[in-house]
Every structure is written in C-alpha cells, then in structure tokens.
C-alpha cells in the first residue's frame, strides 16, 4: 500500500507545530449477497477509505478521522487536529511508543487470498446452496431469515512522524445461514457460519446449512425449568464469550479506570489450573492475525492466563504508561483514537471430549445460546439469558429456554472442572467446551 499519503499528512502536522503524530489508513472493499427462501434478498457492494490521525503537542494530544481523502479535506483535518492538540490539557502519559521499539520488518502472515475474484452470480449461488441445504435438511425447517455470503478485502497502512511507514493487506470470506424450525406453532431460529481468510478454506455451503438446520431443530419443544444450582457446560461458541469477558477485564483502559475485576491480580490465581489463555497474533492465515499493532509494535504470543495464573494484561502504550508497565503490543485503531484489541484469543484445549464432559453430568445444563449484557466487568457479577439442552444422567435430554445462568466470573473460572479437546480456530476468539462445577440457573 502506498504510504505517501500518510507521510504527507504527518509532515503537514509537523509544519503546523505538532511535536509528533501518527496516522492509520484503511482501504476496504466489501461484497455481500443474501438469499432468503431461495430468492435474492440483498446485494451489497461498498468501498471505503478511512484515515485516522493522532497529533501531539508535547504531552497534549488530539485525534481525528475522515473518509474524505481529498487534499483539501486532509489539510483541514490535519489543521483542526493540530489546533485542537495545542489547546488540550497535557497528559503526562500521552505519546507515541519509543521509536526504537517499532517493528523493522513486517512478517508475511499469509493473510491475503491470492486467487482471483469470482462473479457475483457465483457468490449468490454459494448463499443459495447454503440456505437450500438448511431448508432441505429437515421437514421442520419451514422458514428462514436467509443465508449470506460475504467477502472483504482490506489494506492497512501505519506511519509515524519518526519515519515509520509500513502496511499489510488482508482478505476475509464468510458464509452464514439462519434457518427457522417450527412445530405446533413454536418457532425456533438458530444459525451457523464459516469464516476464513482464504476462499478455499470456507466450509462447504451445504455443511454450514445442515449444521444451522440441526441447531434450529434441536431447540424445538423447549421447556422452562425450575430454579436450581447445577453444573453448567458451555459449548465452544459460548465458552468463547467468557474468554472475551476476561480479555475485557484484562485490558488497559478497564484497569487504569479501576473498573476491572482483574485489578491488582497480576501473578495471582484467577482460574482453575486447567485454564490457559493465549493471544497469538502470528498464526499464519488466521482470522485475528496481524503483523504489527495499531502503534507499529511487533505482535506476538501473549500468555494471558497460564495454568490458572493471570500472567499478563493487554496494554497499548498509553495504558501501559499509566499503569507503570510496558505495552504488550495490543493497540487497535478502530475509530479515531487508539484502543486495546486482541488478535487470535484462545482458551487452550484440554483432554476431555465434549461427550465425556456431558456424560460426567447427572443433572445439569448445556448452554448453546446466551443473550443480553448481564456481565459486570467491575465486579465480575454474571447473569445472562440462556437457552440450550438439559442434561439428565449424562445425556442431552431436552431443550430448555427462558432461563438465566448466574454467578461471578472469578468464581466461575475457578470452578471450571472440565476443559474439552474440541478447540477449533474458526473465529478470532475461541474456546473448547467448558464445564463449570456449579452455577445458579434461574427459571420458574
């Protein structure tokens, strides 16, 4: 990617009196086609450019972003951001990373599909095949919210006023299907998906459709339950949401605001010894991989939790300075400012098969969906709406819904007494099946 534009923007900031600046440029094109009940529902094609800019005047700073990359617009954005930085209050922790720490060679992580693009008709056909497989999988699949194929091609460039200027490119492909199963007036929707950096690594559309159908059908006949305290098993999709909550509490901004249940817990035991959580940005062709972070720092493998002990926080330069620590190279550049973000975040696999975990439960709950926002990142208090399957005598007995699962994340992590061997890196944050010894399930 041509970084000249970024370099010229940073140069202008310096001319206007900025003492340092950095910029992030994204060029993205996106296509999606959705099909519903075998007919085309939506076709979407978009191209987008965004430039975000951080300007420092000593220890004071301002951020700005624009999607208008014309010369006039960029000059105005730079001038306004620089003027703003000069009148902003100083922050002793503000600033770019030490230039000596910036990456010098950008590793090739094989994040871009080298194949040629296929026609819109072929893309529509992928969505059509996925939905058809769901509709044909079971007579109880009677309706559908549709199936979607989408792809994305993006180029990123980052530059600093110290002279750093590097970029990389990625592609992403996805298929998703959301069928509806019904019986005796009851309707249940579920979904399945496949994401990949390379088109050929997508799962077969039919396989995605059939899996989605099976997930919807198994929810039919759902019952409510009486409130009870039982072992709870999270399937891999929902176990991943627990890992996301831990990452949120371990991220710099939550910590320096003292708004985290992991505050002051570095080096202490926060989970069962079977729990190891790793963030690895350098896995070739993986969905969360990136060669450097949003501040030009080399990415790598961070062990967040090792055998139950909190070993690292997730920090960008600013939050690290504020906490008196070193950046862990987790800066992200989503909006105009800098945030903390993970790459490929994984709770590593254990030894049990998911079947063994289910068999180990006499009376308990297997979670297949969580809804709502009932996670308190400050206290770890946890209460979410759930649906799934009730386990009786080691077997999935019947579907349940309109219940909640509640506890406290720290207690839940310590109560993990089974870790599945079914870890698959099919998303940016993943986990295997997890068994939590006891949680409160609230129902009627």
């Amino acid at each position: 990617m041509n970084t000249d534009l970024l370099v010229s923007v940073l140069k202008r900031a310096a001319q206007r009196g900025a003492t340092a600046a950095d910029g992030f440029l994204v060029e993205e094109s996106h296509f999606s086609a959705s099909v519903r009940m075998r007919e085309i529902e939506n076709i979407n094609h978009s191209r987008e450019q965004r430039l975000s800019l951080r300007v420092f005047a000593g220890r004071a700073s301002a951020a700005a972003s624009t999607s208008d990359l014309s010369k006039d617009s960029l000059e105005r954005v730079v001038d306004e951001a620089t003027a703003l930085a000069k009148i902003t209050a100083e922050d002793p922790h503000a600033g770019l990373p030490d230039p000596g720490n910036l990456i010098t060679r950008v590793p090739d992580l094989d994040l871009e599909d080298a194949g040629s693009d296929v026609s819109p008709e072929e893309k529509i056909e992928i969505a059509r095949r996925a939905e058809a497989a769901a509709l044909e999988a079971d007579p109880r699949v009677t309706n559908s919210e549709g199936a979607e194929y989408s792809d994305r091609r993006a180029r990123y460039a980052y530059a600093t006023s110290h002279g750093f200027a590097h970029g990389y490119a990625t592609t992403g492909f996805s298929i998703s299907v959301a069928p509806i199963a019904s019986k005796n007036g009851e309707m249940q929707r579920d979904y399945w998906y496949s994401n990949a950096r390379k088109r050929t690594r997508l799962e077969e559309p039919e396989a995605v459709g059939r899996r989605a159908a099976a997930r919807a059908v198994r929810r039919l006949g759902a019952r409510k339950m009486k409130s009870v305290e039982v072992p709870v098993i999270f399937d891999p999709e929902n176990a991943a949401s627990l890992v996301r909550s831990i990452a949120g509490a371990a991220s710099g901004p939550s910590l320096y605001r003292r708004a985290s249940f992991l505050l002051d817990r570095l080096g202490t035991k926060i989970a069962a010894p079977t729990v190891t959580i790793v963030d690895d940005a350098l896995i070739p062709s993986a969905l969360g991989s990136r060669p450097f972070d949003g501040e030009g720092l080399a990415t790598g493998r961070t062990v967040l939790v090792r055998e139950g002990v909190l070993e690292s926080y997730l920090l960008d330069t600013y939050s690290a300075r504020k906490l008196g620590l070193e950046s862990t190279h987790h800066a992200g550049r989503d909006g105009s400012g800098v945030s903390v973000t993970t790459s490929n975040l994984m709770l590593l696999a254990g030894k049990s098969t998911p079947e063994e975990l289910i068999r180990s439960v006499k009376n308990g709950f297997y979670v297949t969906e969580l809804i709502g926002f009932g996670v308190n990142g400050v206290t770890g208090d946890y209460s979410r709406g759930a649906s799934g399957q009730w386990i009786e005598n080691g077997e999935l007995a019947y579907p349940v819904e309109e219940i909640t699962v509640a506890g406290n994340l720290l207690e839940m992590l310590s109560a993990i007494d089974g870790v599945g061997n079914d870890l698959v890196l099919r998303d940016r944050t993943v986990a295997p099946t997890l068994r939590i010894g006891r949680m409160v399930v609230a129902g009627t």
Partner: protein, 313 residues
C-alpha cells in the same frame, strides 16, 4: 443530511444529537462497584448546563456506585416485579418493539407474526412508538427515507394494533410506511426501526403499586437488553434494584438479568402508574450491525411473574 428519492423529490434535515454520560467507581474495603448515568437528545450542548443537568448526572452515577457496595445477592426465579418509570421502558423495546418491526413480520419470523388484532397484553397496556416528540433522542422530523415520522399505536388496551414500517416492507405487505425507516448512516440500507417507544400512563399511584407487593423486586435502572425475535424470548438487565417485602423497599440487590417471553410478559401487567416518564436520552439500539439512537418510556408498572436471574436460590 439530504435524502433524494427515485420519485424525484428531496428532503433535507438538520439533526443535532448530543449525549453526556458519567461513570463512577466506588471502592470500600477492597470491594469496587460501578454506577453510570447520563442523558441527552436532539439538543445542543447548553442542554447539559440547564438546571445543572451535568451535576445531577454525576451525582446519580456516584449514588448508584456507592449504593451497590451494600447490595445483596439478587433472587433467582419467577416473582412479582415492579418497574420504575422512565428507562425501564426498555422492557417494551425488547419484549414487543422489535417483534413489531415490519421486516420480521413480512418474513413471518417474528413471534408476533399473524397476531394482529389479538390480545398480547393486559387491557391496562397501551404502547406507542412516537418519533414526533420535540428534542427526544429517538425523534426525527422525517425518517431516513424521507417519510414524516408519526405516532404508531402498537398495542391498544392490550390488543395488537400496529407494525412499524419502512417503505420497502410496507409496500411488500400492502401497508403504509409509518416513518420508521432508519439507517445508521449513508453506508447502510434502511430498515424498520423504533423511535421513542413507551407505555401510556394509567391511574395508579406509584406508591400504592409498591405497597401492593408482598414479596418481589423493584427495579429502577437498567443496562442493555436483547431479544430473540423468533421465539420471543427477551432479556433486560437491572443495574439498580431492591427487594420489596410487605410493600416496603428493603435491601438493594446486585444486578440481575430479567428474562421473559414477549407475547406473554405484558399479559401479566396488573397495575399501571400515573407517572409516565421518558428516559433521559441514552438509548442506542442495535440491529443487523446498525446502531441508531432511540428513546423509551414507562410509568411505574407491576408485572405478576417474570424470571429474575439472580444467584440466591
């Protein structure tokens, strides 16, 4: 913003939108809690200086954080719940609002599909979506397709009466657009969305409603909510709530998610207060990856039986 349509006319609008949010952390003996409060609307920044609103928001956030330090475990199970006025109207947004958006009903994927004219709530319940109220966060002069906003009665005395429509779904269903076609920005396609969704006031004194509860929960502040349109299950999370015993408010309880079934939950509304309030203007609604500002409102109401997702069995 400027909207041009295929039929050849254009409409322009100016849409200020401001919001101030305050988050406070309280600490005591190694225990930490968070309180959050805010407001705003289609107003300019001086709104926050009027009557020292900013000070009230900050005070509320601090009060909540300190209060929660002494909160006990929330109960688990189905019980009588009294919702306070204002922001708890998120109940309506999740329990019925999304399910009455035109697209889900055209596709018959909503738990409310085909139930027009049927009883879906107690006769005490009338719910409207109104995009025309001056300066509210969910208000618009015209929607994002240029249709003037209006007041759509969704439920009248317990009977389902209306859907919210954009142009496309209205046309496909042979109905009229209701001014609910909204999009996050130019980069997204419009779809049916709510504006300000609230329940009309009833006749009961809010204090009498509380006094009528022998054992239950009084919930006054909520975080976010979510709904599964198809099976109707919805959640919304209380962040400030109290136990009610023998008609009196007693201990504050920890945050808990409330879960119910949309077409059924409002049939259990047994009392509706005379104290309708709209929220302060903090709501953002997400659908299909698009966020739009919305408002909600509620008088004090009593629901006879909704599942509270606490930890105290």
């Amino acid at each position: 913003m400027l909207i041009a349509t295929a039929s050849g006319w254009t409409v322009g609008d100016v849409r200020p939108l401001t919001r101030l949010n305050v988050t406070a952390i309280a600490e005591e003996g190694g225990k930490r809690e968070i309180g959050s409060y805010g407001g705003g609307g289609r107003v300019t920044f001086d709104f926050f200086l009027q009557d020292e609103r900013w000070r009230r928001f900050a005070g509320e956030a601090a009060r909540q954080a300190v209060l929660k330090l002494s909160a006990v475990d929330a109960p688990a199970g189905s019980m009588t719940v009294v919702l306070g006025p204002g922001w708890p109207g998120i109940l309506l947004h999740e329990a019925i609002g999304h399910g009455l958006e035109g697209d889900f009903n055209r596709k018959a994927t909503s738990a409310f599909a085909g139930r027009m004219g049927q009883k879906v709530a107690s006769e005490l319940v009338t719910v409207v979506d109104d995009g025309t109220i001056a300066n509210r966060r969910g208000s618009l002069n015209v929607d994002d397709e240029g249709t003037p906003t209006g007041r759509t009665v969704l439920i009248e005395n317990g009977i389902l009466t209306g859907y919210m429509q954009d142009r496309l779904n209205a046309r496909l269903m042979g109905m009229k657009p209701t001014g609910n076609g909204r999009r996050e920005s130019y980069a997204y396609a419009p779809m049916p969305r709510m504006t300000n969704t609230f329940m009309l006031a009833g006749h009961d004194d809010p204090e009498d409603i509380l006094k009528s509860v022998k054992h239950g929960l009084y919930a006054v502040t909520f975080g976010g909510g979510q709904v599964d349109i198809t099976n109707g299950r919805f959640v919304f999370s209380a962040s400030e709530a109290y136990l009610v015993e023998d008609g009196r408010i007693t201990s504050p309880v920890k945050g808990a998610t409330l879960i119910g079934n949309g077409p059924e939950a409002l049939t259990r509304v047994s009392r509706v207060g005379n104290d309708l309030e709209l929220d302060e203007g903090v709501g953002t609604c997400g659908k299909d990856g698009q966020s739009v500002p919305v408002g909600v409102g509620l008088p004090t109401i009593r629901i006879d039986g909704i599942t509270v997702g606490g930890t105290a069995v």
